[in-house]
Symmetry: C2
Subunit: 226 residues, 2 copies
Amino acid sequence: MRSDPRKALVVLSGGQDSTTCLYWALDRFGGTAVSAITFDYGQRHRIELDCARRVAERAGIPHACLPIDTFRALGGDALTDDAVAVRDETDADSGLPNTFVPGRNLVFLTFAAAWAWPRGIGNLVTGVAQTDYSGYPDCRESTLASLEQTLRLGMESDVVVHAPLMHLSKKDTVLLAERLGALDAMALTHTCYNGERPPCGHCPACRLRAKGFREAGIADPLCADA
Amino acid sequence: MRSDPRKALVVLSGGQDSTTCLYWALDRFGGTAVSAITFDYGQRHRIELDCARRVAERAGIPHACLPIDTFRALGGDALTDDAVAVRDETDADSGLPNTFVPGRNLVFLTFAAAWAWPRGIGNLVTGVAQTDYSGYPDCRESTLASLEQTLRLGMESDVVVHAPLMHLSKKDTVLLAERLGALDAMALTHTCYNGERPPCGHCPACRLRAKGFREAGIADPLCADA
């Protein structure tokens, strides 16, 4: 099925990166062509879902939230399992951090493509980045290129997967958000792995976010809010 | 993470093809190396889940059932949506039958890989086939090859995806089941799209199954059961 190359669907987590991507999509495809999808996958911090909803509302775009109850049933990772603490160090066996949910971004993008397919949406936009990435192999450019090909074959579509932050440092992502007029929306986003608001400032996600704003020489509106 | 090339996980739907694949895996990897996974994705016919459980029990292998509530939320297809009747003809827009759930097998195999990953299972086995396939692009060999590559990259694994029925006709699948000693288990399987038991005999799935047994010159134990 041919899809419309002018329409785009943003995978919106409610975090800094996907919010920046939403504004990137608005800039590239125009306000009426963009919609967003959020996955309720049992994340520990339900606040992320609220953040995504508020970011989409502020941008004035259609927003869908789809449930995925499978990750919780898979169990054992720090992002969905209350019994597992977020650790900084990587797992000795796999070399990956214990926040790694195997296949998470593959599933998100596959479901986003399944949502886009009957609606003729030809572009998917994701906030993953291999610069500064936390050791997640499903955030790499090679993985996304392979996934794009898999989605095209598996759905007989010509969908394009965009990852505008792929090669940007956190600093450059902050500068991009400023250029796109997305900074104000940053006050609505959530980053902290520990689910705190104001952010804990200590977890890997908080530290990475703070480093990006500091290096960009811009105050984080989320912390100004606090 | 290196996985064990001697261990295999079969995606078991409770139907004829995946049951044949389970016996293929037992033959190839041995009884203690095989486990099975079934997805409860809101299929109209809950009987499939019972069939899968009984097939796995009979084979004496560990069996997990994982929920996926997302397809129902995506909506609009005949395999999960009670409001949509199974039609024989294809959709004019997409050229695909209305039983097509975009991305279904991509999601099943990705979650199977996510289940296999922490358990070090190096092989995934699926019953999809491009011969006799119902127009589903996610059952093709090119799609599975691309998905295998995506899973390897996205999970940093060396997982292998097997589709032993890929190039077999339904007749050859029945003959394979006979050779593997899987025929008795066929009485436990479910095929009918209309969820009837004994099978309706009229839906595309029933007709295809009957044709396979007829051409193989073997009585279908499911119908003998009736």
